[in-house]
């Protein structure tokens, strides 16, 4: 069964086409990361999935229900982290717990308080007086205490330092380990997703590509070589992306080293000492999507 199903989704924003015939599924129990450069419509997609935007065409099913008319029972099963760790700033920690408790029959107060306890703040501390990191813990506590079946996290890493991001990842790992739980996450810190997701969606110019994390990190390759010529590689079927720092070139490709060398030579690029280098997900993301 799929936790999320998107069929032929099209959407325009201010006359600009954001998506055209976007189709993808997120299977139940998977941990999916949505990657794309700024402005490619990641948050718009989350907004459509959560019913905050009505798409121009196509259908979006979340836990089997139409996303722009999700019944309360389905919303109860979806933990949603809004961009910027949205929380009611006029509430204290205790009031936040009391407020949300009333909506969720499976509410687990112990989980909520164990997460906020790490900050060492009084339960009477107002959310509005917290740092972004502290607020993120309260929001995470709220979501985890709901015991949702599907987690949708819109840029959870925004404004968080390394410690809070790691804390988030720890909790998400524990959540993902439970049976049948699905996570759909976007983040601008790509290297964090490498530690979490099993499936990646690349969103680029209205198109979406799905790949397994391991499969991507194995099939997509990073090559480094040196060259003194002014000729730079051109992106084509073999060379998917390149970076240059003085005489050190990095190219990205799905092909083996011989094919890459041959293609670079054909392009008139002098290739010296081409070898495969370790590639992180962030390298792969830049290699495939470009820097801007």
């Amino acid at each position: 069964m799929n936790a999320i199903e998107v069929h032929n989704l099209s959407h325009q924003y201010n006359g600009r086409t954001v998506y055209q015939d976007l189709t993808f599924t997120v299977p139940q129990g998977s941990i999916c990361g949505l990657l794309g450069k700024n402005g490619q419509g990641k948050t718009t997609l989350v907004n459509i999935l959560m019913g905050f935007l009505k798409p121009a065409a196509g259908s979006c099913l979340v836990l089997g229900e139409n996303s722009h008319s999700l019944p309360p029972d389905v919303r109860r099963r979806v933990g949603l982290l809004h961009e910027g760790h949205q929380a009611y700033e006029f509430m204290t920690i205790a009031q936040t717990e009391r407020f949300f408790r009333g909506f969720y029959p499976d509410w687990n107060a112990d989980i909520f308080f164990s997460l906020v306890k790490k900050m060492g703040l009084s339960h009477r501390h107002r959310v509005g007086n917290m740092s972004c990191g502290q607020r993120s813990q309260v929001v995470l506590g709220v979501i985890m205490a709901q015991n949702p079946d599907l987690l949708i996290l819109d840029d959870y890493s925004m404004g968080l330092d390394a410690g809070y991001r790691r804390l988030f990842l720890d909790v998400l790992h524990d959540f993902a380990a439970m049976e049948g739980k699905t996570i759909f996450v976007t983040s601008h810190i790509v290297q964090d997703l490498e530690q979490l997701v099993d499936t990646i969606f690349f969103l680029d110019q209205g198109r979406i590509t799905r790949t397994g994390l391991k499969e991507f990190l194995t099939s997509f390759k990073k090559y480094v070589f040196f060259s003194n010529t002014g000729t730079v590689p051109l992106e084509d079927e073999v060379i998917k992306g390149f970076e240059r720092r003085r005489d050190r070139f990095t190219v990205y490709s799905y092909q083996d080293p011989d094919t890459v060398t041959e293609q670079l030579t054909r392009q008139g690029v002098e290739v010296r000492d081409l070898h495969r280098a370790d590639m992180t997900l962030e390298d792969g993301f830049i290699g495939l999507m470009g820097k801007y």
Binding site: F52, K54, R76, F99, F103
Partner: protein
């Protein structure tokens, strides 16, 4: 769920509610001392004559306070929700969205009626101290349209703040302003009394504006 929604509305409104209540009571005290001063310094029969024959309303100072109360409470409820798109938190709660709006508006109206109702009762007893029962009773028929203006100001404030389209915002603001201005037409005690039942029955219809704006608010990115 209902207690959770009411808790949230109380947390948002408590300081503003207390503020407008104190302000309203302050105006009531001013009215009390002014009437007392008039009665003590002038011939009481002249004051009665002014009230009964000249329709001089001695509590006119409070006329716009119910409207201001409605607008303040609407802003206090909605601004924390729509700023930085926090309304999405509520819209994702496992509760029917119209029910959520009904509960929020009901809570706001309850606080409004307390903040606007206490001054009406206070002014009634002020008038009762020095005027005949019939004149005192007209406090309610005279203040009725002002309180209704406050209710419409509250509903209009909510509808305008929720409305995502600027042209509709302006349209709603104009419509509500015109209807509210009707409540301030005429002079004298109980001036609008004959029309009040009809105006009161029409008021709930303006709830539809709130639902309509709320629906568009959610569908257009909340």
């Amino acid at each position: 769920m209902i207690s959770s929604v009411l808790l949230k509305e109380w947390l948002k409104l408590k300081y503003f509610f207390t503020g407008v209540l104190v302000l309203n009571i302050g105006v009531c005290l001013k009215i009390y001392f002014e009437i007392r001063g008039l009665i003590l310094s002038e011939h009481p029969e002249m004051i009665w004559y002014e009230a009964i024959h000249l329709h001089n309303i001695f509590f006119r100072d409070i006329m716009f306070f119910p409207l201001a109360t409605g607008l303040i409470l609407a802003a206090a409820q909605l601004v924390p929700e729509i700023s930085r798109r926090r309304m999405r938190i509520s819209l994702h709660l496992p509760l029917h969205r119209d029910l959520l709006l009904v509960l929020s508006v009901a809570a706001g109206l309850l606080f409004f009626l307390i903040a606007a109702g206490i001054p009406a009762v206070f002014i009634y007893f002020t008038m009762r101290a020095w005027f005949p029962y019939e004149v005192s009773l007209t406090v309610f028929t005279t203040m009725g349209p002002w309180v209704l203006a406050g209710i419409l100001g509250y509903l209009g404030g909510i509808a305008v703040l929720l409305e995502p389209l600027k042209t509709r915002k302006v349209f709603l603001a104009i419509v509500f302003s015109v209807i509210i201005s009707v409540m301030y037409t005429g002079v004298g005690y109980g001036w609008l009394s004959p029309a009040m039942p009809y105006l009161a029955w029409l008021a709930p219809l303006f709830l539809l504006c709130v639902f309509s704006s709320g629906h568009r608010f959610q569908q257009r990115g909340a």
